[in-house]
């Protein structure tokens, strides 16, 4: 028994509750937010420090007290090699978001309410990764919905209301299906204890029930992940959310879906997983290719990064679908790497949007490396990391997922997975393509070069050509067309100290995990082997 996980949840919760006190009325909450989220980060690091890495497959720091016996609900927390990296990642990203907010007042105003919302969000996210009871997992899984809805609906972009509603309805449909799946498991086994269920490796649940439960749980999680074709809420939500919202959505919320596969769906329902894994793999690779192609077609920087998440999560799901230790490791590694890199990308996209006044790549024009050299370089770094350059964190997740698909679990059809591997490989090429196209559009070239939106009508002669000789040309129209082409004067301040403070930890970790992947794989491997156990190892 250890109270540490409970304290880790209590700190942001009490921190949020304290914000309701009248002491904070009309005062800046940025220092307070940094302090509370920093305390949570320190606690997460303490958890990581006292964690016994020689026994990473075992659940440690457990806390198990009954909450509601009538529901069979227990307040059961703990960490193992699967959840530990995600807990630390969550605490880190929330902390960095508060660092970011210290200098960037939210556009919707009301910084106190935003700080409150983010801290509640942190409780839900960390709680999801710590929970070891099916119902408790579900409760925390749901906790994030309302705060994230408000983050998008109050502090988001112009189309925020619709995006927020779409987000919450879509994900609630997923969670309702997830609940049904979890209850099917409960009805078959009579227990809600995840550790206990995982140790049984599916014994006691008939095959049809396993398939049904895996389907319900899988679809529920796939909405959150998101898996093609259930991803349609994601581009809108990511585009409209404020920077901190996008960072947490991409960095942590998507991981809650994939984490559910590693924690519940695959260990508890191995036969269901083996039956449906080919479908999971197929949807995953379609997602990879679809996400990459969609990225190629985007003009909005944030929207493009959002679609790139669909592709990257496709690799994570492909890793799970192989049902091998290699694939699972790939998925868990890809999770963390995507959290770091996409978090950084959204921070950068927010900074670029702030400076240019738009995230439209066409209207931004090129030459960022000359105009804003530091931000341009960091953006290049993040994109290169995201496209999977060897030596950076993004590489290992993709490479290992493809390696896993090369040699899937014995129960699965190898030729099919070889096809998946080939399609996934094509996806890596497309991923590289869209990031390089984006970089060449935005960071390279001369700063003055602009590509106007729509057909370029810059002179009266061209307008004459379009309209034909008979039409009168109004001088006003010409003037308007020209004014659209000319960019307004742009602010030119480069990266600030606060921004560097928020970004450099992500850069450093991306480099560290890229050069030394064993640091992370050593933590996840024992846990993955314990999860797969004697079940479906090759």
């Amino acid at each position: 028994m250890s109270a540490l996980p409970a304290v880790l949840l209590a700190v942001p919760l009490l921190g949020a509750a304290a914000l309701a006190l009248p002491v904070f009325r009309g005062r800046s909450t940025s220092a307070y937010g940094i302090a509370v989220s920093g305390a949570a980060l320190v606690l997460a690091l303490v958890v990581a420090a006292v964690f016994d890495y020689r026994d990473a497959g075992r659940i440690q720091l457990g806390l198990d007290v009954p909450w509601s016996p009538g529901l069979g609900l227990r307040f059961h927390l703990g960490v193992d090699g699967i959840s530990l990296p995600l807990v630390v990642l969550t605490a880190l990203l929330v902390f960095l978001c508060f660092v970011h907010l210290a200098r960037h007042r939210p556009e919707g105003g009301r910084p106190r309410a935003l700080a409150f919302t983010l801290l509640v969000l942190e409780v839900g996210m960390i709680g999801t990764f710590l929970a070891l009871d099916l119902l408790l997992f579900f409760v925390f899984f749901e906790v994030v919905l309302v705060p994230m809805y408000f983050v998008i609906a109050i502090w988001g972009g112009p189309a925020r209301r619709a995006a927020a509603v779409k987000f919450i309805l879509y994900t609630l449909l997923g969670s309702a299906l997830l609940l049904i799946g979890l209850l099917v498991v409960w009805a078959q086994t009579g227990t809600l204890d995840i550790a206990d269920l995982a140790a049984r490796h599916g014994s006691g649940i008939p095959r049809t029930a396993q398939v049904l439960a895996f389907l319900a749980i899988g679809v529920g999680l796939a909405v959150k992940t998101p898996m093609w074709p259930l991803h349609t809420w994601l581009p809108d939500a990511h585009t409209e959310a404020p920077t901190v919202g996008s960072v947490l959505l991409a960095g942590v919320l998507l991981k809650m879906g994939t984490y559910g596969f590693a924690r519940i769906a695959i260990p508890v329902l191995p036969e269901g997983a083996a039956t449906l894994a080919p479908w999971l793999g197929a949807f995953a690779v379609v997602g990879i290719v679809y996400g990459s192609l969609a990225c190629l077609a985007q003009r909005d920087l944030k929207r493009m990064i959002a679609y790139s998440s669909v592709g990257h999560m496709g690799f994570v799901l492909l890793g799970f679908a192989t049902l091998t230790p290699v694939g699972m490791n790939a998925a868990l590694f890809g999770n963390v790497a995507h959290g770091l890199i996409t978090g950084l990308l959204f921070f950068l996209a927010g900074a670029v949007k702030e400076r240019y006044g738009t995230a439209d790549m066409v209207r931004m024009g090129g030459g960022m490396l000359r105009r804003l050299p530091y931000i341009g370089s960091l953006l290049t770094f993040a994109c290169v990391a995201s496209l999977g350059l060897p030596g950076l964190a993004g590489f290992w997740g993709e490479m290992l997922a493809l390696l896993g698909a090369f040699r899937p679990a014995a129960a699965l059809s190898r030729p099919l997975f070889l096809v998946f591997m080939a399609v996934g490989g094509l996806g890596t090429v497309l991923t590289a393509a869209y990031f390089l196209v984006m970089l060449s559009r935005v960071t390279h070239g001369r700063p003055t070069e602009t590509v106007p939106a729509g057909p370029p009508l810059t002179s009266a002669e061209e307008i004459r050509e379009v309209l034909g000789p008979g039409e009168p040309v109004e001088p006003v129209a010409t003037g308007t067309a020209v004014a659209e082409v000319e960019e307004p004067a742009r602010p030119t301040w480069d990266v600030t100290g606060h921004e560097l403070a928020a970004w450099l930890p992500l850069v450093a970790l991306t480099l560290a995990f890229g050069l030394w992947p064993k640091a992370l794989l050593a933590v996840t491997t024992p846990a993955v082997q314990a999860v797969l156990g004697q079940g479906v190892t090759p």
């Binding site: 509601s68 609906a153 049904i180 209850l183 009579g190």
Partner: protein, 504 residues
């Protein structure tokens, strides 16, 4: 023969009924003074609180009390069992429903104090009718024979028509009262017909004797009495479907809730509904438990249709009370759903049971719905029209009311931080899934999402900045009512076990 009456068993309804009489006498004899209305409200409140205390004491003692019993040797003929059959039983089920009704009664009385003060309403009649309804609602879960069930159900319904119409200057109220009267009278007639058929088949009015009758085969009757029983079951179901506003007898809900004074709408949505469900559960699971194969598919379909119709109709509402009306129809569907998974014998390795799940949802629902009605009551006294747009920026203008309403709406939607609603839904889902009704679970899952749309749209309005409206001074009784309901909801959220262990 002389029947002994166990006054301890009937104490709770007796206290409420005596208070009703006292209020009527006081109203007639007291000189008309400004403080008179408040005195009557205080007496009513004290009576309801005393009855609640009686129920609490009985619950702590945990003894099953019976009275108005007929010995096995009398009446009933062949269907009489070996034991005496009692018309009034105060067991765990009775006490839980009575507690819900009386606690909700406290909140409704507090809301009434504000209504009676501002509207030109006769206070004595108002409180008398309210207490009469409460008497019926407390009596109903204790009833164990058909006649007493029907009589107490009518005692719940009849005063509500008058309560609805007491705002005589309001045309909407009169229309609502007439609508309610017509619907209710028709439903009573239908139900009486079903009840008389049941009596005709079984030769008994006591629920336990009806169950005993069906436990044995009856070769002398055509098809073993199955045909008549089916008709009777369907008629009884239809009668109750009117009371709980289940599809296809749900049309009255919107207009009646909208036209009635807000406290009466709250009463209809919680007390009258709880009473209706109590009667339905008693007839179905005590008297007709062996007929579950006939009625459980009907219940499943009605539940699915009710939740869908309620949610879809609520989507387009602009008026706060109308929205709550349709939302309460949808919630009726959720309460009905677990009954579809009822089996007479119970499942192996499963302790909960369909009835517990249904009642648990009812209890959670009562608490969170009353919070919403209390806040709506407060707004309705400031803003005549009471549309959803009148709630814009409420969480910023008056944070206490705004946050309370937001919390109750999130509870009704079933999302954290409204854990009470989430746990309630989990209880129901668990029962349905364990009962193997996968399709109903999926329908309910989709309905949860549809429901979220209008709850979250309303909640979002509370936090949208708006031009500063006139702040009204806090209305003390309404604030107390909202406070009680909110406290109970928060307790249910943190410790759901309170409800679940009360149901056993």
């Amino acid at each position: 023969m002389i029947q002994g009456i166990d006054y301890a068993a009937v104490a709770a309804p007796l206290v409420v009924a005596l208070t009703a009489g006292l209020v009527l006498v006081l109203d007639a004899t007291l000189p008309a003074r400004p403080g008179g209305r408040r005195l009557l409200g205080g007496v009513t409140l004290a009576g309801v609180a005393a009855a609640l205390a009686v129920v609490a004491v009985q619950a702590v003692q945990g003894v099953r009390r019976e009275t108005f019993c007929v010995p096995a040797s009398l009446g009933g003929g062949e269907s009489a069992g070996s034991q005496a059959s009692c018309s009034f039983v105060a067991d765990r089920f009775t006490l839980v429903i009575a507690a819900v009704v009386l606690a909700a009664g406290l909140v409704v009385v507090l809301l009434s104090m504000s209504e009676v003060a501002i509207a030109r309403t006769p206070a004595g009649e108002w409180y008398f009718l309210l207490l009469a309804t409460l008497t019926g609602a407390v009596l109903l879960p204790a009833s164990r024979d058909l006649i007493m069930l029907v009589v107490s159900l009518e005692l719940v319904s009849l005063p509500v028509f008058a309560l609805t119409a007491l705002r005589r200057y309001d045309g909407r109220a009169s229309e609502a009262a007439l609508k309610l009267l017509l619907v209710s009278v028709v439903s009573t007639a239908v139900m009486l017909f079903g009840v008389s058929l049941l009596y005709g088949v079984t030769g008994s009015v006591h629920l336990d004797r009806i169950a005993t009758f069906y436990a044995t085969a009856h070769p002398q009757m055509p098809y073993g009495g199955a045909g008549v029983t089916t008709v009777a079951v369907v008629l009884v179901l239809a009668g109750f479907a009117f009371k709980i506003a289940a599809v296809p007898f749900h049309f009255w809900a919107g207009d009646v809730y909208r036209g009635a004074p807000v406290p009466v709408a709250a009463l209809l949505s919680v007390i009258s509904k709880a009473a209706g469900f109590a009667g339905l559960i008693l007839i179905l699971t005590v008297a007709l438990s062996r007929q579950a194969a006939i009625w459980s598919p009907v219940i499943a379909i009605v539940a699915a249709l009710t939740m869908t119709a309620g949610n879809v109709l609520a989507l387009r509402q602009r008026h706060a009370v109308r929205l709550l009306a349709w939302s309460s129809v949808a919630q009726s569907g959720y309460i009905l759903a677990p009954l579809a998974a009822f089996t007479a014998t119970g499942r192996a390795g499963h302790t909960g049971g369909a009835v517990s799940a249904s009642v648990a949802y009812l209890v959670f629902y009562a608490a969170m719905n009353l919070v919403a009605f209390a806040v709506v009551m407060r707004v309705s006294s400031e803003r005549e029209r009471n549309t959803l747009d009148d709630y814009r920026g409420m969480a910023l203008r008056s944070p206490a009311s705004g946050l309370a309403l937001a919390f109750s709406l999130v509870c009704l939607a079933g999302l954290p931080p409204g854990l009470a609603g989430l746990f309630a839904k989990v209880v129901v889902f668990r029962e349905i899934v364990a009962g193997g009704l996968g399709w109903l679970a999926v329908v309910m899952a989709v309905n949860t999402v549809v429901g979220l749309y209008y709850y979250i749209a309303w909640t979002a309005r509370l936090f949208t900045p708006a031009e500063a409206g006139g702040r009204q001074e806090a209305n003390a009784p309404v604030a107390v009512a909202a406070g009680i309901a909110l406290t109970v909801t928060v307790v249910f959220s943190v410790v759901p076990q309170v409800v679940l262990s009360a149901l056993g």
